[in-house]
């Protein structure tokens, strides 16, 4: 049997697990605790780069932005392990890695009964009725899992998927479709408000607690933006490290799969959209992306915040999702792996009786892909719909079933491969980062001891020195050129330190000029240019050697 990644995670995130991460981390680089959560768990940060790490351009990697994907924390650790072995890269770029930004939320992947949850455990009035955590789900069939509940009801909104009746799909009444079911999560309506399990334990979601398009008053958003110690710690760390030029996160925002578009209202400038499109293409080429899931909404999300408010290049990917090998189109003939449970296969038969045209019209590849993937990789993870007696629905047929929480996850082997692939792609992208060169320094002797100095700076990388938006967001240090003239020199024109603006990729350049009067015998001057997120370069000039006579 394959070892599933969630099992590995269980080892990692237990009390002893923090130790086990610690052990793995310690071999890699510097480990520190950014914050302690309300549940007294550490938010850990690993720094790869050794001495002087903070003085080099850096990438911030955040795993498990969505705590319902606990394996994405392991992927971040795996990625760290591969990157840590790349000594050449680490001489140029520092990596800050936060595998598990919301450990209280991630820890819920070990709760009993198991329920998929992305929020931490801050007591919250999710349904805003004045009562806190008063309507949690209940494991009515005592199988240890909170799954779904379907109630036979023509006034509901669901019917069985014509291709696979295990899956329920929303009806479109404008197309004459009739509903058969109400679809709810497993449990009872504890507070009798005709809503089921709408206010369980917790909480605040890491990925709903940031400032960009903050979803006011929505469940999971918290009492206000950046309300949680973990959110604040990650945000403050990022704000405090102006050497970070790129943020890579593993989560539902998927701009590496479907790049953010240009446009107004949260859209990007054309210049930035073009860069993101190129980065997404490099990702697709390297990882052979297929059946990509849809992009997250980004409201209050980490990745959108990192671009819009932190002002850095922000790349985000779910990294893994169920992919079914080709031939699924002919699934019916191919269907060699029916669910282990008899009732599931019975349901399947009923689907086969539906007219073919209807199947086509309703086919929803994303919804069915998970089931097909499960059939092949983890068939026991679908709990077949089974009747129960439900106190809230006397006289109605209520069935419990569905996919076990956290069951859709990559294997340990797949994770290792993903880590290697992501590291390889990242290395390719980082080779194209903004790189400064002092292209030329011209010294012109205007007369006795008066020199005109002209320096040209060029960006030889493909990435601009900052995104267009980043320049506006003002969280990065300005790219600045400084002329260090011989002691006692007088600047007749041009301040010693001048701003260079943003240099676009592949040859973006700027020229700056000074007129100075040199007093004394010193004849060396230096030109320095840079800012922490692109690095610094400098050049020394001997005045007399270079001076052109007028």
């Amino acid at each position: 049997m394959m070892l599933r990644a969630t099992v590995l995670l269980m080892l990692c995130a237990t009390a002893a697990g923090a130790e086990s991460w610690h052990d793995r981390f310690e071999k890699l680089g510097k480990l520190e605790v950014l914050a302690e959560t309300a549940g007294e768990r550490p938010v850990q940060l690993l720094t790869l780069g050794g001495d002087g790490a903070d003085s080099r351009p850096a990438v911030l990697i955040v795993g498990a932005v969505d705590a319902t994907k606990p394996w994405s924390a392991d992927l971040a650790v795996g990625l760290a392990e591969v990157l840590a072995a790349n000594e050449k890269l680490l001489k140029e770029i520092t990596f800050y890695i936060v595998p598990d930004p919301s450990p209280d939320a991630l820890r819920r992947s070990q709760a009993k009964p198991l329920v998929e949850a992305s929020a931490n455990l801050r007591p919250s009035d999710d349904d805003r009725d004045g009562r806190i955590d008063e309507d949690p789900p209940e494991d009515l069939n005592h199988d240890g899992f909170i799954t779904s509940m379907r109630v036979t009801d023509p006034t509901g909104d669901y019917r069985p998927h014509p291709d696979d009746p295990r899956e329920l799909v929303r009806v479109d009444r404008t197309k004459g479709e009739r509903a058969e079911y109400r679809l709810l999560t497993e449990g009872i309506d504890n507070d009798h408000d005709d809503r089921w399990n709408e206010d369980g334990p917790g909480g605040v979601e890491f990925n709903r607690n940031f400032t960009w398009k903050y979803p006011y008053f929505k469940p999971g958003a918290g009492p206000h933006q950046v309300s949680e110690s973990e959110t604040r710690a990650v945000a403050d760390f990022a704000f405090n490290h102006r050497n970070i030029f790129l943020v890579l996160s593993i989560g539902p925002e998927a701009n590496l799969l479907k790049p953010w578009a240009k446009g107004k209202e949260g859209g990007l400038s054309k210049a930035d959209a073009d860069v993101y499109a190129w980065l997404a293409k490099s990702y697709a080429d390297e990882l052979k992306v297929k059946d990509a899931p849809t992009n997250g909404a980004g409201e209050g999300a980490f990745a959108t915040w990192a671009h819009h408010h932190l002002g850095r290049w922000s790349l985000s990917t779910p990294a893994w999702w169920p992919v079914v090998e080709e031939k699924v189109a002919e699934k019916k003939d191919d269907e060699k792996s029916p669910p282990t449970d008899g009732e599931g296969s019975n349901n399947k038969t009923s689907a086969d009786e539906k007219p073919k045209s209807e199947k086509k019209k309703d086919s929803d590849p994303a919804a069915l892909r998970t089931l097909r993937w499960l059939d092949k990789n983890n068939p026991s993870a679908f709990i077949p719909w089974t009747k129960i007696e439900h106190p809230d629905f006397p006289g109605k047929t209520v069935e419990i079933g569905g996919v076990k929480p956290y069951a859709v996850a990559p294997t340990v082997e797949e994770l290792a491969e993903l880590a290697a692939q992501h590291a390889k792609w990242l290395t390719v992208v980082l080779a194209e980062r903004a790189k400064l060169a002092i292209d030329e320094v011209k010294v012109e002797a205007a007369g006795e001891q008066v020199y005109r100095i002209t320096a040209k700076v060029i960006n030889t990388g493909r990435l601009p020195t900052s995104s267009k938006h980043g320049a506006m967001a003002k969280q990065l240090q300005q790219l600045e050129i400084e002329l260090v003239a011989p002691k006692g020199s007088v600047f007749l024109s041009g301040s010693p330190r001048q701003r260079c603006g943003v240099l676009h990729g592949l040859g973006g350049s700027v020229e700056k000029q000074w007129l100075i009067r040199v007093i004394g015998n010193e004849d060396k001057l230096q030109v320095k240019v840079g800012e922490p997120s692109v690095g610094f370069v400098e050049r020394e000039i001997v005045l007399l050697a270079h001076a052109e006579k007028p």
């Binding site: 805003r128 400032t211 206000h224 945000a235 003002k474 240090q477």
Partner: protein
């Protein structure tokens, strides 16, 4: 040292004096805590006064610190209410009013107005009926110094009347990797940050014909006398800009969570809402006290009663605007020269302002008063009606009433970059803050408005309960529930977003079985709402001003009934009734 002595002096003179022969109206002449209201207190003096007030009125006051500011000063909150008959459920069930000042620390009198309110409330309890009622029924949370570090910076560091608006966390304002490296300089060390000029026949400025210290532009065909060189200071970091990165800079009043936007949209916003620790302490306190139903944040300048929204795209329900309007209508009468405006339309657009957060995320009716108005110079509206009055009007007031104290006369100093220059201009103590003789009036009038607002916070009441016998053991208990005040128990915005829970009307009694409940907005129950679930506890969305809600319970059994109305912002009230009473 002198300040310490002053405080000591206040303490010793606190001994009870004989009652005065003649009590003026307004503040008492024989207060338990003697205090003058014609000067400004620094952090230590304000702290001393708060401690004196709390010590002199232990049954009314609790002084606590929410925590420490960036530079280690206490964030004092004085809670004022009559502790003697606090409700059984705790003082947090009394409707509460929040008052703060000095979030922009250069706006000095904002702090003194809060201190005055603390002093006046405690001194007037038992003397004045309205104040006594207020402290018996409501709670006041007073936080006089929202930015205590910057208040002392205004007192002791180089500043104009306009600074510091920021707190003192170091910020790299010009993003050059150097932090606070180019502050303004008080070149001559006189404590005032003024203007620089040089005499220059090629300059385009000249003296004002009437007020020679004032600089005015020469006409195109006139010779000038002076060249202006900007505010006192020099280019410390040789980047070609003067005074571009001083202490701070962020705006603590752009740091609140409602409609927050980052710095590139809203100048002065820091990293994220409540990234200013002092504000976070306040927000945590306010969130922990949902009984706060009204708030006032004092600022200066210009004479304004401001309500939100601060952001133009933020539309507030008309019903709530009507409540603001009613409250401010009287405020304008109390504060001659003040205008009632909404921030976005009447002033300028503000994202992440404090009082907008009070309303937007806490469901609290809140005002920002901009204290000090040039109307007070000569009790007439100044030309152009700007916030400060014109230069001429200020100079006239200075000449006629300040005996020329408002201005540092031009005098020569040595500038490290320009050589000999002249410096001169308006003192930091003049422009935004009233002079001594107008300060007490400013404090009192603004307090009067705030107390009117506080008095109009919701206060719920079970107006009447009647029991009617029906067939068998069936009885009908009918209650009328009221709120007589201008403010509803939940704003329309609160109801729409479920910020606080609904109001709850409960019926209890020994042996009482509640079998149904009906709610109506008229006494005949023509089209009542049937409370299907849990009829013993009826949810009422809001209790508006003098808009009764009628609740009728059908019960079985019971001889004694208690009807309770339990609200978050409007307090709790209950009435007991015997069965025979209803017969």
């Amino acid at each position: 040292m002198l300040r310490a002595l002053l405080i000591a002096c206040f303490v010793t003179s606190a001994a009870v004096a004989a009652p005065p022969v003649y009590q003026p109206l307004g503040a008492p002449a024989d207060p338990a805590v003697p205090a003058r209201w014609n000067f400004y207190r620094d952090y230590a003096e304000a702290t001393g006064l708060l401690k004196q007030i709390a010590a002199a009125h232990p049954k009314l006051c609790r002084l606590e610190s929410l925590g420490k500011s960036y530079d280690g000063r206490e964030m004092w909150v004085l809670t004022i209410t009559n502790q003697a008959n606090e409700p059984a459920e705790g003082p947090e069930t009394r409707p509460a009013f929040w008052i703060d000042g000095g979030i922009h620390a250069n706006e000095l009198q904002a702090v003194d107005t809060v201190l005055y309110t603390a002093w006046y409330l405690t001194e007037s309890y038992g003397r004045n009926k309205l104040i006594t009622n207020l402290l018996d029924q409501r709670v006041f949370y007073l936080l006089p110094m929202m930015s205590p570090d910057a208040r002392d910076a205004h007192f002791y560091d180089v500043n104009t009347t306009n600074g510091p608006r920021s707190g003192l966390r170091p910020v790299d304002d010009d993003q050059d990797g150097r932090i606070d490296e180019d502050p303004p300089e008080d070149i001559d060390g006189d404590g005032h940050l003024v203007e620089m000029r040089v005499r220059d026949p090629q300059g385009r400025w000249k003296s004002h014909p009437k007020y020679s210290e004032l600089m005015i532009r020469a006409k195109p065909d006139e010779a000038g006398e002076f060249r202006l060189l900007g505010p006192e200071g020099y280019d410390n970091d040789y980047d070609g800009e003067v005074n571009e990165d001083g202490p701070g800079y962020y705006d603590p009043n752009r740091d609140w969570a409602w409609k927050w936007e980052p710095g590139f949209v809203q100048n002065g916003a820091y990293r994220y809402p409540f990234s200013i620790e002092e504000n976070r302490l306040v927000a945590d306190f306010v969130i922990a006290h949902p009984n706060i139903a009204g708030a006032q944040s004092y600022h200066n300048t210009g004479g304004m009663i401001l309500r939100g929204p601060g952001a133009k795209g933020d539309v507030w329900p008309q019903e709530d605007i009507a409540v603001f309007d009613r409250l401010a209508e009287r405020g304008v009468e109390m504060l001659p020269g003040y205008r009632y405006l909404n921030t976005a339309e009447g002033l300028y657009e503000v994202f992440g302002g404090e009082t907008d957060w009070f309303y937007g995320m806490r469901g609290v009716f809140a005002f920002t008063n901009e204290l000090n108005t040039p109307f007070n110079f000569f009790r007439e509206h100044p030309e152009g009606r700007n916030w400060f009055g014109t230069d001429e009007e200020r100079r006239k007031f200075d000449d006629l009433l300040l005996q020329g104290e408002g201005f540092v006369p031009w005098h020569e100093v040595e500038h490290p970059q320009f050589g000999k220059v002249e410096v001169g201009g308006q003192k930091k103590s003049w422009g935004r803050q009233p002079p001594s003789f107008l300060l007490e009036e400013e404090c009192h009038r603004n307090m009067a408005f705030t107390l009117w607002h506080a008095d109009q916070m919701p206060q719920v009441r079970v107006e009447s309960v009647e029991v009617k016998e029906l067939d068998g053991k069936l009885r009908e208990v009918t209650a009328i529930i009221m709120n007589d005040k201008a403010t509803p128990t939940r704003s329309a915005h609160n109801v729409a977003n479920a910020i606080t829970r609904p109001d709850l009307a409960r019926l209890t009694g020994e042996g009482v079985k509640v079998i149904a409940a009906l709610v109506a907005d008229e006494p005949f129950f023509i089209q009542p709402r049937d409370v299907e679930h849990n009829p013993a506890e009826v949810e009422i969305p809001t209790l508006k001003s003098r808009t009764p809600v009628y609740v009728r319970w059908l019960v079985e059994g019971g001889e004694e009934f208690t009807v309770e109305i339990d609200t978050i912002q409007g307090g709790i009230d209950r009435k007991d009734v015997m069965r025979k009473d209803g017969k």
